[in-house]
């Protein structure tokens, strides 16, 4: 039956698998992360979003995003906790204590830089924790950072929605 569905209706099969097996946020209550959990997440995000250490301002954007999501949206506190815990376990030490090169190597080794999760991976009974990090936490952290002023800086904008500027800037090409 399953084989028939795969062969005859591959898109439908992908939808079914995705709906059934792709990691999803649970409905657990929002809350506050510990300082060490936050440090782990920011150290993780630094590799993902810039491939270098974040400066204090950039790190503050990341902290603001994580704090907001963990504190307001059900499921994110648990997701972030799971992510920090997994990273610390894999590192055998606080993940944030590793050098940038060590963190990058570890993340590549465990596939955390590949967040385009494939259908077949969703069917595997093992590695669910890491899959959740790749499918949910990584895109969330990347999106959060690029929605912040850092994302606008990446495209060369000094002023952007919510930061006012000179009115007539919009009339010519960006300097």
């Amino acid at each position: 039956m399953l084989a028939l569905l795969v062969l005859w209706r591959p898109q439908r099969f992908a939808q079914v698998v995705s709906r059934r097996f792709k990691p999803r946020l649970d409905a657990t209550a929002p809350g506050v992360l510990s300082t060490s959990e936050m440090q782990t997440l920011v150290a993780f995000a630094a590799v993902l979003v810039e491939g270098r250490e974040l400066d204090a301002q950039e790190a503050s954007y990341m902290v603001e995003h994580i704090t907001d999501k963990a504190g307001k949206t059900p499921g994110y506190l648990a997701l972030y906790r799971k992510t920090a815990d997994l990273l610390d376990r894999l590192a055998g030490a606080p993940f944030s204590s590793l050098s940038l090169e060590q963190r990058t190597g570890l993340m590549k080794q465990h596939g955390f830089t590949d967040y385009d999760v494939r259908i077949r991976e969703c069917l595997l009974p093992w590695g669910r924790e890491a899959l959740a990090v790749r499918a949910l936490a990584v895109p969330d952290l990347i999106g959060g950072y690029y929605f912040s002023p850092a994302g606008w800086a990446a495209v060369g904008y000094r002023a952007f929605p919510s930061r006012c500027g000179e009115l007539t800037r919009y009339t010519s090409a960006e300097a």
Binding site: T104, G143, S162, Y170
Partner: protein, 531 residues
């Protein structure tokens, strides 16, 4: 919400402090008429708007009421009309979050039956409302230029110069020239220069929340001045639950409550309901009584019927060159070429808005790019800022099957039935959208865009027609002065009084009608304006 005893009776009670209610409060108060405005939401101080602006870019709606379930509603019909982002509670009402587009209707928009043989004529003409358009433009501070070749004649200049065309408007202008389509300035109630004590626009890019107050909203443009006359009082966090009439069919009191749900009453000689096209209709339906079992002012059965909006579609295309979007939150160019022309009996009018902000944001590009580390920023920069968009606003014909009714099965914060909105569009609207999409696609193709595509069907936050005006009490709810046919001391102002929708956003017409109705009420009291 402490209400002093002496406020429990007034000359005019206005329900809602938005576009219509805020304007009426000032127009009446400056004529020495005692006004109390009951506003369901709070006062949103200007100083808090910076924080609101930051919340808005994170996807929050800062105008949302904190009272659980107060904005609950249900939907039906072929198109689910959503209200979440389409209304705001607070002093200023929907002008807190509106886009600020201030188009007049065209002369023929008031005469659809006479000119095109469809729908109904308004009981007033463009010539009658024209002076009030001028007054509304001055009161709101409209920036514009008289460069729309299809606009109906105007007797007054725009009070502010137009905003200059944008960098991306230059692309559109070239393509429109090739195709014989006129592109012109988009009038808007936003300060191109400092005006009336409010600052020049500073391009903050979050016009849903204007952090500087450069965009007109009645909490800034009208309410403070009304209060300063000494004749107006604003009671906030006061949701009107029902209206009560006496045996002589005179409206006597508004029953309202705050967060504590305890009921209070305000008596007045005249009542003005200005709560928006959904909530005004709902309040009338909630005010059913033994003598008016179908709802207040509803002998015609038309309260809540003919709910009308403006169907919308965005057509986008991708450019090879950067177009630098998202540097201001509003559009500066439009074409009114298709708002009036033959064939309108078969398909709706429409206007084209040339968007200054289209395409994905950096935060939308990054998490689906598949890139990470140093490559990610490069990918985002390469992808960002190459989308141009044209927004279509189409005219919708009044349709009696589009309605606002009560859903007794679902209750709001106060235990009242919630509004149920039934909404759909028909062949008239679909024909307009189809033609407009073709024209927009041609413009985008002419300027060299690729990957041209239409977005999903949407609709504007315009809620019209639910207490339409007219001369015949069997076919309308209010008369030309917006007085209810059935209740002599009740006025219903706002978009609900529109007979037809045109393709123009309604706020300037709402404002003009509010000024006109305030003059009428003042005549009833025989009081001239003090300034």
């Amino acid at each position: 919400m402490a209400v002093p005893d002496e406020v429990r009776e007034t000359e005019v009670c206005i329900i809602g402090a938005g576009a219509a209610g805020g304007i009426m409060a000032l127009e009446l108060a400056r004529r020495g008429i005692r006004v109390v405005v009951l506003e369901s939401g709070p006062r949103h101080d200007l100083a808090r708007r910076r924080d609101y602006s930051r919340r808005f870019v994170k996807g929050e709606n800062p105008w949302e009421s904190p009272l659980a379930g107060i904005d609950r509603y249900t939907t039906g019909g072929s198109v689910g009309y959503r209200l979440e982002w389409n209304r705001a509670r607070g002093v200023g009402g929907s002008t807190l979050h509106w886009e600020g587009t201030t188009l007049r209707l065209h002369a023929e928009d008031f005469r659809m039956r006479t000119v095109h043989g469809i729908a109904e004529d308004w009981p007033i003409s463009y010539e009658e409302i024209e002076p009030y358009y001028g007054k509304a433009e001055r009161a709101l501070g409209v920036a514009g230029a008289p460069d729309d070749p299809w606009a109906s004649p105007r007797s007054t200049a725009f009070p502010l110069p137009p905003f200059p065309m944008s960098f991306s408007d230059g692309f559109f202008a070239g393509a429109c020239r090739k195709l014989g389509i006129a592109l012109h300035h988009l009038p808007q109630a936003r300060n191109s220069l400092a005006y009336a004590g409010r600052s020049q626009c500073r391009a903050c890019g979050t016009c849903h929340v204007c952090p500087t107050g450069a965009k007109a909203s009645t909490d800034l443009t009208h309410i403070p001045q009304a209060v300063a006359t000494g004749h107006a009082e604003i009671v906030t966090d006061a949701t009107v639950l029902r209206l009560e009439v006496d045996r002589s069919n005179q409206l006597r009191s508004a029953v309202y409550a705050g967060a504590d749900r305890s009921e209070r009453r305000l008596s007045a000689r005249i009542f003005v309901v200005a709560a928006g096209g959904v909530e005004t209709a709902r309040l009338l339906l909630l005010s059913a009584a033994p003598d008016s079992p179908r709802g207040l002012a509803n002998r015609s059965g038309l309260v809540g019927r003919y709910f009308t909006s403006h169907p919308m579609i965005d057509v986008t295309g991708r450019m090879a060159a950067a177009v630098y979007p998202y540097r201001i939150g509003f559009s500066t160019a439009m074409s009114g070429q298709f708002a009036v022309r033959p064939g309108r009996q078969r398909r709706g009018a429409f206007f084209l808005e040339f968007l200054n902000s289209a395409g994905p944001l950096p935060g939308e590009i990054a998490p689906v790019s598949g890139a990470w580390g140093t490559a990610l920023a490069r990918r985002v920069k390469a992808e960002f800022g190459r989308t141009l968009g044209i927004r279509i606003y189409a005219e919708q014909l009044p349709d009696a099957s589009n309605t606002v009714t009560l859903n007794a099965g679902v209750r709001d914060y106060f235990g009242n039935p919630v509004p149920h909105i039934t909404y759909g569009i028909g062949s008239y609207e679909r024909a307009a959208l189809r033609e407009a999409e073709e024209i927009a696609a041609k413009i985008l193709a002419a300027l060299g865009a690729e990957d041209i595509r239409s977005g999903p069907l949407g609709y504007a936050a315009h809620q019209l027609g639910t207490h339409r005006m007219g001369g015949d009490p069997a076919q309308s709810v209010v008369n030309a002065n917006l007085r209810a046919h059935d209740v002599p001391n009740l006025y219903l102002v706002g978009g609900g009084s529109f007979v037809t929708a045109s393709s123009s956003p309604p706020t300037l017409t709402i404002a003009a009608l509010a000024i006109r109705t305030a003059e009428h009420i003042a005549e009833v009291y025989r009081r001239p304006p003090s300034c």
